[in-house]
Amino acid sequence: MTSTQAVDDIVKSEYEHGFTTEIESDTLPPGLDEDVVRAISKRKGEPEFMTELRLKAYRHWLTMTEPEWPAVDYPKIDFQAISYFSAPKRPEDAPKSLDEIDPALLETYNKLGIPIEEQKALAGIAVDAVFDSVSVATTFRETLAEAGVIFCSISEAVHDCPELIRQYMGSVVPHTDNYYAALNAAVFSDGTFVYVPKGVRCPMELSTYFRINARNTGQFERTLIVAEEGSYVSYLEGCTAPQRDENQLHAAVVELIALEGAEIKYSTVQNWYPGDEQGKGGIYNFVTKRGDCRGARSKISWTQVETGSAITWKYPSCLLRGEDSVGEFYSVAVTKGRQQADTGTKMIHIGKGTRSTIVSKGISAGQGRQTYRGLVRIGQRAEGARNHTQCDSLLIGDRCTANTFPYIEVKHPSAQMEHEATTSKISDDELFYCRSRGLTEEDAVSMIVNGFCKEVFNELPMEFAVEAQKLLSISLEGAVG
């Protein structure tokens, strides 16, 4: 029996089991098997190649084991207890009013100045009100269409431009890459697709915030950005307001592809709900982000500000394949309370004259645990490759920890590597100096922390940088003492 036949048989057997009717219902029972994978694909009306890709990923996932990371710990995830069907949340399951939401979360919303209606949406309460952003989004789409830029959900893209999806999806992060990437490839719910044609400079910053269906893309999000020769695009992901989500596990995959002379700037401000003081209800964020500088002189730049999640595990990486291509990674990560973060980057130098810059700023307060793990690999053909790494940790209080693990592999003698690392504490002298000038302790801390992070904030688009600063101050309130 050929494999196609086998699949056909399985598909048929599904119908026999009355699977379709189940698909029509709102939510699939928890658990994961091939039927569920097929059901997801079917429900989305995907072309067969997509269903096949999902199944292949699923079968590969079965052969893999969940990674164990020394630096983070969390209760074992029961993958059969998760519902993989991204049906819209039923109104009766959602919190009814703001009264049911963690007061600490609401306080943060108020401090950020978020309007009530939007607070409800962020907290997962069903709202009828249509946001301004919806109409804004429509106008934006028109401007983008004029420039020839495609900016839509992955589901739409699978229908409207399947050849692009076929060509690029999984070409940077194959399903074989890691456990969570395989899982994502099998069951991904939705996500964002961006395509910038040759020579086009995208006329605006692209943000998921402006995408109508962005709010419920679910736990297995998939993003694909393709920048054709000589094009430029800046993409903003996330939102400074802490987002609550019923789904505890988030395993997203982000793929960026920059062709010759193209530049992609990808900025993230992530503020998932970290849970209450015990870390309960917090999000586990296991995401695979990778950029492929496929063409000569292409450039991919990751900038991230991470303050949320109970557990974060992410390493935005760059494959520097094109000659003279450039990879950058600017990161601020904050862990406080009982948060744990294991983050960093990988810069894989393959082409000649490739350059990379890594600036990582870790801030740890309370009992926060933070690990920076960075890999810089200079391949055999990467003549004249250069890397500069700067890795700074700032500790607030004496119960938090920060660790740095830089891994360097150099296979070409001409490589130039620079590595700087510092660990500092906010000293009593600094605090007293600020306070003696009339600043409160919290103002003093946020001022020093913002100063510490300045190099990274400078990389963010203006409005985002301002929000990120505000966010950081709020996150660290009460962190001292």
């Binding site: 100096y433 003696s436 000038r437 302790e441 510490f452």
Partner: protein, 251 residues
Amino acid sequence: MLSVKGLRANVGDKEILRGLDLEVGPGEVHAIMGPNGSGKSTFAHVLSGREGYEVTSGSATFEGKDLLVLEPEERAQLGLFLAFQYPVELSGVNNTYFLKAALNSIRKARGEEELDAVSFLRLIKDKLKILHLDDSLLKRAVNAGFSGGEKKRNEIFQMALLEPKLAILDETDSGLDIDALRVVADGVNALRSPERSMIVVTHYQRLLDYIQPDYVHVLAKGQIIRSGGKELALELEEKGYGWIEAEGRAA
């Protein structure tokens, strides 16, 4: 304005201030002199609320309010200012930004309106001129990489900007070249007013030629052992501290 009575303070097990008395009235300038390690900086720190000191007895009130129960920022907001003997570097914190935040924090606490960027920059320009400070220092991080003299001038610049009611200058003159000393003294004198009092800690009579004090005190072993007019400083310059301490022991 400031009234200190029988102030005793420890660092760890060690008693540093041993019953210190000092009365400072509005508009008065008091000089405090005394040997190294006698407790001058400790006194300044205790007044401005630095942690790490334990006040075991005595009191310090400022305009009738008990200073010792207040947080450092609350004291600053009341109008207390300390020019540090060793100004602290705040790497990454822009000087202008820092000053604006400090000034607005104080204004806010006083119920005054916060200054916007434009009025603040105008204010800053005026004050810079008084201290002959180069405005490039404003674009840098607070005290980071400043020369010793620049740090001291920056302290007085901050004082000029924050317009305190009581300023404590802890050895602002040490580390200044002769011209800078003049400039700083001029800056300080420009801030003298019937409402503003100052405590000037110094080792050198020379500063007191420029900033004429109303009173001079000698602090030794945690106590004020002698007070007088500005002629006391001249006497100290000539004879050192030994004779007063000897007289103290004889008495």
